[in-house]
Amino acid sequence: MSIQELGEHKLLESQPATLERLGFGSVHVADETEDVVEMSSRAAVDALADAGVASDEVGALIYATAIAPSGLAGPTDDAACGGEQLPGLFRYAATRLQHELGLTSASVLGVNQQGCASLFGAVRVARALLTAEPALSHVLCVSADRLPRNAAREVVYNALSDGACAVVVSRQSAGNRILDCCQVTKGYYWDGVALRNELLASYFPTACRVIKSALERAGLGLADVDWLIPHNTSARGWEILAGALPFPLDRIYTANIARKGHCIAADNLINLRDMEADGLIQSGQKLLLFNFGFGANWSTLVLER
């Protein structure tokens, strides 16, 4: 749906023209019959194929979600817990996904309470699992969020899309090497609604500090970063953050903001995938992935291609 259409359907808090000025053009709204398990399953199949990993080689499945309804399997309407019998509240999307994908060797866990940073949280846990359990070779991290039907599609000047992504984190891989993975939580802003302006004020300085700290731990500086792969919050917000860091705006991949909107936790991997398809990523390049989760988590992944 275009931003204008969202406005016509009264699914925005801001005026459509405002969001367009901030860089948004359209968002993806999942079909009514499409649930989070189907969305994440498609992403997972692609990720396993890209990684050359068979289903039964996956030792753990980590399912990351930003919003509570995404954690339950079944039709979206059933996610409204008020109508559920108690056992129905234990119908986990992650467990169903394990079955659908044939991940017969995989234990399952979920990551939430991190908003849009949940996928990064999953990768962080995956890395820790691989470190702690020598027998483990591959961890499949999957994220999917689908807003309830007719839900508003704007959070703090950002237009939201439904979306899913998946990535295999392996002990050995020919793909991207994780140089650093970090997350900062600021619990004071747990109520992002009541403390909205305080949270907005905190966003830029905290992002700067988290990014610089992550790079320092990875033995890098901003000048060493070839690409900053963002979450698809507003292009305007990225202009400000680019100035604050400072980091060249033309090395921040913002092309998807207008055409795909903010796909909650899936932005960074969607952007990375599209950059690879466009031939923008070269071997040896240092990639900085940054995400912010409303609620309130700042998260980074530093990769080497």
Binding site: T18, Y157, S202, A244
Partner: protein
């Protein structure tokens, strides 16, 4: 200042203190000695707002004039600043020209007359084409030009920004204190400037004493920088870090909030923040930006002020205490009385 003058006045000396508001005049009159006569007037009005007879009487007897009346708000509109700081100064100069016993006209100016200049600013310099951050700076520059062109025994005193007492007591809250309050509340995400920009602030008592010394030892045609100077100022990054440290020690619960000090950014980024606040209709951040934009951009023009004339006249008393030695007390004052900072 009036109190200091009254306390140090010689036998036979009288002080006429021109005060704008009647209530202010009454308050001032109640505080000081019988050597002080408080007059209710207005420098923007004919005869400085006095009756012609009073004007003439005072004019006939004064030997020194200390012109420290003016509009000091960084956010003042051009017309308002012009009316008070330029035209008001013109009227005070007219008064001074008609004072037959005048030995010294001390004009209180500001280091802000340097505007957007950078580098070392000499006391002997004024004219420049660098421009100004706000109407206050421009109006004080023009006022100083009037004084320097006047055929009277003038001295110019350029004060840096007053921040309170070196003990931390703040009697008059200004934009700097309000900026500290914004940092405390975690509502200032960005400030314009450079990490190494020197922030030159001075305590009230130091400024008052320097003004008195210049008034007493008047050397016509000289300009004095009454400021901290490079070695007593603080770098902007150190000031922000020091502010955060003081807040943490004064309010331990603040640490739990993990509030981040603002990021130092360039002019374009700072203005983009303001533009974005307006674009999205966030009235709150529009107000934050407006509270900061009239003076913080001065931090984009790093400069240091020569103080040779001041030190030569005043000696060691012309050396300000290091800002770093009392900035913490000022910040603590801002936090302990937040209602003042919200004005």
């Amino acid at each position: 200042m009036v109190g200091l003058l009254a306390a140090r006045a010689h036998d036979g000396q009288r002080i006429f203190a021109l005060q704008r508001s009647a209530s202010g005049a009454r308050a001032l009159g109640g505080q000081h000695s019988s050597r002080t006569e408080v007059l209710c007037g207005d420098i923007t009005k004919p005869f400085l707002g006095l009756t012609p007879d009073c004007y003439a009487e005072v004019q006939a007897s004064v030997t020194r004039v200390l012109h420290c009346a003016g509009l000091t708000r960084f956010s003042a509109a051009s017309k308002e600043a012009e009316a008070v700081n330029i035209e008001g100064t013109r009227r005070v100069l007219d008064f001074a020209r008609g004072a037959p016993k005048l030995a010294c006209f001390a004009h209180v100016s500001t280091t802000c007359v340097a505007g957007k200049r950078t580098g070392t600013i000499l006391e002997s310099e004024l004219e420049h084409a660098a421009g100004f951050v706000n109407a206050y700076e421009w109006s004080k520059y023009e006022a100083e030009r009037l004084v320097r062109a006047a055929d009277i025994p003038w001295s110019v005193l350029r004060l840096s920004t007053l921040i309170g007492d070196a003990s931390g007591l703040v009697r008059q809250w200004n934009a700097v204190h309000r900026a500290v309050a914004l940092v405390y509340r975690g509502l200032a995400p960005v400030v314009p400037g450079y990490a190494e920009t020197l922030v030159d602030l001075i305590p009230d008592g130091f400024a008052a004493n320097c003004v008195y010394q210049v008034l007493e030892g008047c050397r016509p045609g000289r300009t004095y920088h009454i400021c901290a100077g490079a070695d007593k100022s603080m770098r902007l990054d150190e000031l922000l870090q020091g502010t955060a440290r003081t807040i943490e020690s004064t309010r331990p619960g603040w640490r739990k909030r993990a509030i981040e000090p603002p990021v130092i950014v360039d002019e374009a980024t700072f203005e983009l923040f303001g533009e974005t606040a307006r674009d999205v209709g966030n009235v709150f951040f529009v107000n934050v930006y407006e509270a900061l934009r009239y003076f913080l951009p001065q931090l984009l023009y790093p400069k240091e002020f020569d103080r040779g004339e001041t030190i030569a006249l005043v000696g060691d008393e012309g050396v300000a205490p290091a800002l770093g030695s009392y900035w913490g007390q000022i910040v603590a004052s801002c936090i302990r009385t937040p209602w003042n900072c919200q004005r």
